[in-house]
């Protein structure tokens, strides 16, 4: 039972990162009906920026305490990611807003390849170590162990998600976003500047992805140019699972996917008599994705249908 609880806890940690990234997908999808394929790369750039800054500061000023370094790292990652995301939106998506659906998807893949290759050239292909900035003494929680960094992931994600919900449902900008998602033309008639709202949506998504990227790098103590792909794909799955276009759905989907993965990886060996092992962890996301699209394409909380050509 303790193992079970531990796996659920690990799953929640994993899932809250997915949720952060999934929010970025789902916000953009809600407004533009477009999968921002390059979102995973934004996460990667966030992590790489933070790891560079943290390593530089640690070398030049060894006295700075870990948590402050972490905050500086996140603080540097966010603007870089926002700028990158705005450039992607401007170059790859905006000119194609009225083109056939395949076109922006292909430019997005192209952008993603370019960003990844540039990152590989800037930071070299080898993984960079992300130092331990927090204490490594685990916290005991009802029989399960939680590393401080994992606890931090849970807290930071919860705060960010809460902040986003407030922003979307309680502010003027949020209302403009919801209006644009509902009907861009009518929203424009009501005086909403659609281009500004879309750019801001990308910026907010990028900020969330930047934080998620730093958290991922911190959690695994490593950052690499290819690290954005898997979290990006899984977060997309999470967004679909929860119902794409739906903010609460992205959170639910992210957490659920994290738990499914963690439990799946923990128990798949026992379930299949040792035939499949925990290195199949990455498969669960895809299986979940296919199952959701088959059984309930609108997702858990969503109303949209998958058949949007």
């Amino acid at each position: 039972m303790d193992i079970f609880f531990q796996q659920v806890l690990n799953g929640l940690v994993l899932g809250s990162v997915y949720a952060l990234v999934a929010l970025g997908y789902t916000m953009v999808y809600g407004i533009l009906q477009l999968i921002n394929f390059a979102h995973g790369e934004v996460l990667m750039v966030g992590a790489m920026t933070a790891v560079t800054v943290v390593n530089l500061l640690q070398k030049s000023a060894p006295g700075i305490p870990g948590p402050i370094l972490l905050i500086i790292g996140i603080g540097c990652a966010i603007p870089v990611c926002i700028a990158l995301s705005l450039v992607i939106e401007r170059v790859a998506y905006r000119p194609l807003r009225n083109a056939p659906r395949l076109a922006p998807l292909i430019t997005a893949i192209g952008a993603s390849i370019v960003i990844q290759t540039l990152a590989m050239m800037i930071w070299k292909p080898n993984p960079i170590v992300f130092p331990d900035l927090l204490s490594t003494e685990p916290i005991e929680l009802g029989g399960a162990l939680l590393a401080p960094k994992q606890a931090l992931i849970l807290v930071v994600s919860a705060v960010m998600m809460g902040g986003l919900l407030l922003l979307v449902y309680r502010t003027r900008l949020g209302r403009a976003m919801r209006a644009t998602a509902e009907n861009p033309r009518i929203a424009a008639l009501m005086g909403v500047d659609a281009n500004r709202v879309i750019a801001l949506t990308f910026a907010i998504g990028a900020a969330l992805a930047a934080v998620a990227g730093v958290l991922v790098a911190m959690n695994y103590n490593i950052a690499q140019f290819a690290m954005g792909f898997m979290p990006g794909l899984k977060a997309f799955t999470a967004a679909v699972l929860g119902g794409i276009g739906n903010l609460a759905g992205a959170v639910v989907g992210g957490l659920l996917l994290g738990i499914i993965e963690s439990l799946g990886a923990g128990y798949i060996g026992d379930l299949t008599g040792g035939f499949l092992g925990s290195h199949y962890q990455d498969i669960f996301a895809f299986v979940v994705l296919i199952a959701v699209l088959l059984l309930r394409p609108s997702g858990i909380l969503g109303e949209r249908v998958a058949d949007r050509a």
Binding site: L34, I35, V91, A92, P95, L96, A99, P100, R101, L102, A103, P104, L105, I106, T107, I109, G110, A111, S112, I113, V114, Q116, T117, L118, M120, M121, F229, L233, F236, T237, V240, G274, F275, L276, G277, H279, Y280, D282, I283, A285, F286, V287, L289, I290, L293, L294, P297, A306, D307, R308, A309
Partner: protein, 368 residues
Amino acid sequence: MPEGATPGHWRRALGIGLIAIALVALPFVAGLAGNSWVRILDFALLYIMLALGLNIVVGYAGLLDLGYIAFYAVGAYLYALLSSPHLIEQFEWIAQVLPNGMHAGIWLILPLGAGLAAAFGILLGAPTLKLRGDYLAIVTLGFGEIIRIFLNNLNAPANLTNGPQGISNIDSVSLFGLNLGKKIVLGSPETGSLEVSSVTMYYFLFLALTLLLLVVSVRLQDSRIGRAWVAIREDEIAARAMGINTRNVKLLAFALGASFGGISGALFAAFQGFVSPESFTLNESIVIVAMVVLGGMGHIPGVILGAVLLYAIPETLRHVARPIQESLFGAELIPAEALRMLLFGLSMMLIMLVRPAGLWPAPQRQAT
């Protein structure tokens, strides 16, 4: 075109004849510069086959498939398993059944590979029938990754794929008693002889199969099924209203496209003599999608152009990028592989922005 025996006919025949002569002479000319250039030609043909297959799914039927390389992998691993000592070394009972070793010939594996890949195509197609556009893209991407993860991990508990190390010692193709893995010498030393290298023989095998797949592609395009695919691509609901069984027709697109992939995969395994999961990454899938999309979706000459350009340019870069950079800047600033990916990414973006229908689009697509 009711022309009769007009000059147009002759010109056409002459054109085809010239192309045929050029295609036959090509490997020998390239061979003068070294066998590595013939190898590049061989791979270009493999990519043309893959692009033709994906063109059925993406170009004709309009279903974006980002996991196409999985079918290539299926064909390659089928050939690898059935023509290498791997299975016999791993499983006692197979060794007892086949005392002479595992040497299934190309005649058996090509149809088998095409069939198996088609079965996988249906397996992928069936659950995704209702999806369109970007959802389909992500699911197919996931499918491709699942296949790769399995290839990577199916070395335990039973060693089926040998995991990341891959399978080596794969037989080369043997046709009518002629082993394509070894060079042959035509004529005798006194009268002057012609040496035909292994890569050149593979070139002709690949060329023959490419032409076969090309004919199949053209015939499909002009057939009732081809028209049904285009109808689905343009408007699925209208197509259904016209009495097209969209489910079966879409599954057929997946299956046929996949079978092309299976065939080229088997050839790849035979040619390389070695397969490993590393050859079947998402990047490869994207490269093939790029060939089809950038060349001109649904337009066979465009797709071939796309495959040749996207394969040949990076491959030439690999040979010349380093010397050029070294002479210009004194050092290799951008590694060739990075340059290749940069070019892919940038050209995908640029062409979509500037020429969304591709470099050489089908005429009727221009009109819309």
